[in-house]
């Protein structure tokens, strides 16, 4: 099912939760919705589900306008951010509920419920009530309930937030598999970028209710259309250096006031090099190891820059080092935060 949002807007009494959002999601596409807390992700899903009526704008499923179609007629599967499991029903009944509503026979409904419960690894909990489950187990029931009826549109609001990393990877693979198999158009809200980047066909980025970028994962990561996107993605976060950009060359300046633009380079796109050409000179301050990452912090003038290095790189705190960005992986943003597409020859200097 193709999904078209046209200037979709949702206002609560004093808050604009979603602000003229427009985009088109293709049939069978898996889209991740990303953005800071409170930016309007859940609100958008609620409008797609029909639970909130858009204040403005139009919503199309394929080519039908559905603004006023009741949620129960939209054939949607949804995992709510707060689960919303039926407290009076057992896990089994919870999962079977959507099938029961579709008048699937009891027997078949049960078989399908058991099958999907195995998938999300709660088959041993079928007779429990939601209150007897751990947070992650509840979340898995919610996922099972959303998937079991093979909806036409799947809306997932942070469905994996309470699962451990291992299970999470499993689950998302399963979701993806079912989604592919049945070809369900899916909107997936997550705060886990790695997750968004790894399973989405495209990523939709929002901020303060407004559209930011809608692109393939690597494009969003590697070709951010604005500073917000660049800053929002990536961990450790992108380094942003105030520069004065003119005549194809960026010159590092002392303070934001002097800057006419910012140079953004992700920690993994900075390398410690031996020569100073198109590089910045700084003092290595510390090396931190977190799991498999080793983060070197370098002070360049009064700016701190983080660089991902290999475990075996022989750098000690206090060393003076040259730092050079990969030319095609460094971005220039103007003061409004837009990416400057003007020719930059990679020239960089710290004075």
């Amino acid at each position: 099912m193709k999904l078209t949002l046209n200037q979709l807007t949702l206002r609560f009494s004093d808050v604009t939760a979603v602000d003229h959002l427009s985009c088109t999601v293709n049939d069978g596409e898996f889209v991740s919705l990303l953005g800071p807390s409170g930016c309007g992700k859940s609100s958008t899903l609620f409008m797609l589900a029909g639970l909130y009526q858009p204040t403005e704008g139009e919503l199309f499923f394929d080519d039908t306008k559905v603004n006023t179609v009741e949620p129960e007629h939209r054939e949607i599967g949804m995992v709510f951010q707060n689960y919303a499991l039926y407290p009076h029903m057992s896990v089994r009944k919870n999962i079977m509920f959507p099938l029961k509503m579709k008048k699937v026979s009891r027997k078949e409904a049960n078989a399908r419920a058991v099958e999907i419960a195995e998938l999300v690894k709660i088959e041993s909990l079928l007779e429990r009530k939601p209150a007897q489950l751990s947070g992650g187990q509840q979340q898995r029931v919610a996922i099972a309930r959303a998937l079991v009826k093979h909806p036409k549109l799947l809306l997932l609001d942070e469905p994996l937030s309470n699962l451990d990393a291992r299970l999470r990877i499993n689950m998302r693979a399963e979701i993806k598999r079912i989604q592919r198999q049945v070809g369900i158009t899916t909107i997936f809200v997550t705060h886990d970028q790695e997750e968004a980047l790894s399973i989405s066909d495209r990523i939709l980025l929002m901020n303060q209710g407004r559209f930011q970028q809608f692109d393939h994962p690597q494009d969003v990561y590697l070709h951010p259309t604005n500073r917000f996107v660049a800053e929002f993605l990536g961990n450790p976060p992108i380094n942003l250096l105030p520069v004065n950009f003119s005549e194809g060359t960026a010159r590092l300046v002392q303070s934001d006031k002097q800057a006419n633009s910012y140079l953004g380079v992700r920690p993994e796109h900075l390398a410690v090099v031996n020569d100073g050409a198109n590089a910045l000179r700084g003092r290595s301050e510390s090396i931190e190891s977190v799991g498999r990452d080793h983060v070197l912090t370098v002070a360049i003038q009064n700016q701190k820059v983080r660089i991902l290095i290999d475990a075996d790189q022989p750098i000690k705190a206090g060393d003076m080092v040259y730092v050079r960005p990969k030319p095609d992986r460094a971005y220039l943003f103007d003061n409004e935060g837009n990416t400057i597409t003007a020719q930059w020859n990679g020239g960089l200097t710290d004075d």
């Binding site: 006023t68 009741e70 951010q81 707060n82 689960y83 499991l85 509840q138």
Partner: protein, 274 residues
């Protein structure tokens, strides 16, 4: 969509049809209160009095000391309702949140007291009030009604449905049981408490036999007693009686209009996942 509009229309139709049935006696009451006596008992009934006898109101008002009755009614209803809320909140808390020895037995006994017809209890209670020296005092009108098994039972049901997570959170915040009751459970149970208050006020307001029995002086009596003035062994001055009845129930309807907003204003459980 069209189905939605259709069913909405159907709902309205049903509700309005039912509403008319509900309203009929009320309309009749008002209309009778404005009739001359010879239009009261005609069949088929006259719905629009002609001429409209506004003077009935003046006349009825002067037939009994209604101002005093009104004050007493308000005072007694307010006092006994406050009392009932207090005792009910405390008792419902114990029954719903504390697992104590004999809980079910005590609760069953309380339930049992509702099952004995009140007609049987009137005289022993009168005797008790005499012994307490409360006859013809406000105590007699209020204190016996300051505890209600019905209310305890109702509130207990509501308290039972409050997610235990909230009590956990409150304990973490250093909140004692007593404070938890007042600061969390009570505000959350507002719809139930308002319902209880409403029913209690109405019960107190409309109660007739009790105030009559436990008081002797005019100055202690309440509105419904005023209705007496219009009936005798052989018949009733319906038009004046309806004036008085209108005066009696009007405050209740106004109260309901005010309070029903709060009954609607339910508490969403948002803030608790799952």
């Amino acid at each position: 969509m069209r189905r939605g509009a259709f069913s909405k229309g159907f709902i309205y139709l049903l509700l309005i049809a039912g509403g008319i049935l509900m309203l009929l006696p009320f309309v009749w009451m008002i209309s009778t209160s404005l009739k001359a006596p010879n239009q009261v008992m005609t069949l088929p009934p006259i719905w629009l009095p002609h001429p409209i006898e506004w003077s009935n109101y003046l006349h009825a008002w002067h037939t009994a000391p209604f101002a005093r009755y009104l004050f007493n009614s308000i005072f007694v209803a307010a006092l006994s309702t406050l009392g009932v809320l207090l005792t009910t909140i405390l008792a419902a808390y114990a029954f719903s949140q504390i697992n104590f020895y004999g809980r079910d037995v005590v609760f069953s006994i309380l339930l049992g007291t509702m099952m004995v017809p009140g007609e049987i209890l009137l005289i022993p209670n009168f005797v008790t009030l005499v012994k307490l020296g409360w006859i013809d005092h406000y105590e007699a009108l209020t204190v016996p009604w300051m505890a209600s098994v019905f209310a305890i039972f109702l509130l207990r049901q509501f308290f039972l449905s409050i997610p235990k997570e909230l009590s956990y959170a409150a304990k973490m915040d250093g909140c004692s049981d007593f404070k938890y009751l007042w600061l969390i459970m009570v505000p959350i149970s507002k719809p139930a408490l308002i319902t209880i208050a409403l029913l209690q006020v109405i019960g107190s307001w409309n109660s007739f036999l009790w105030p009559l029995i436990v008081t002797n002086s005019m100055t202690m009596r309440t509105m419904p007693v005023g209705l007496m003035a219009f009936s005798s062994e052989a018949g009733t001055e319906y038009n004046l009686l309806m004036v008085a009845a209108t005066m009696v129930i009007l405050p209740m309807i106004i109260l309901f209009i005010i309070l029903q907003k709060y009954i609607i204003e339910g508490v969403t459980r948002a803030g608790i996942k799952g």
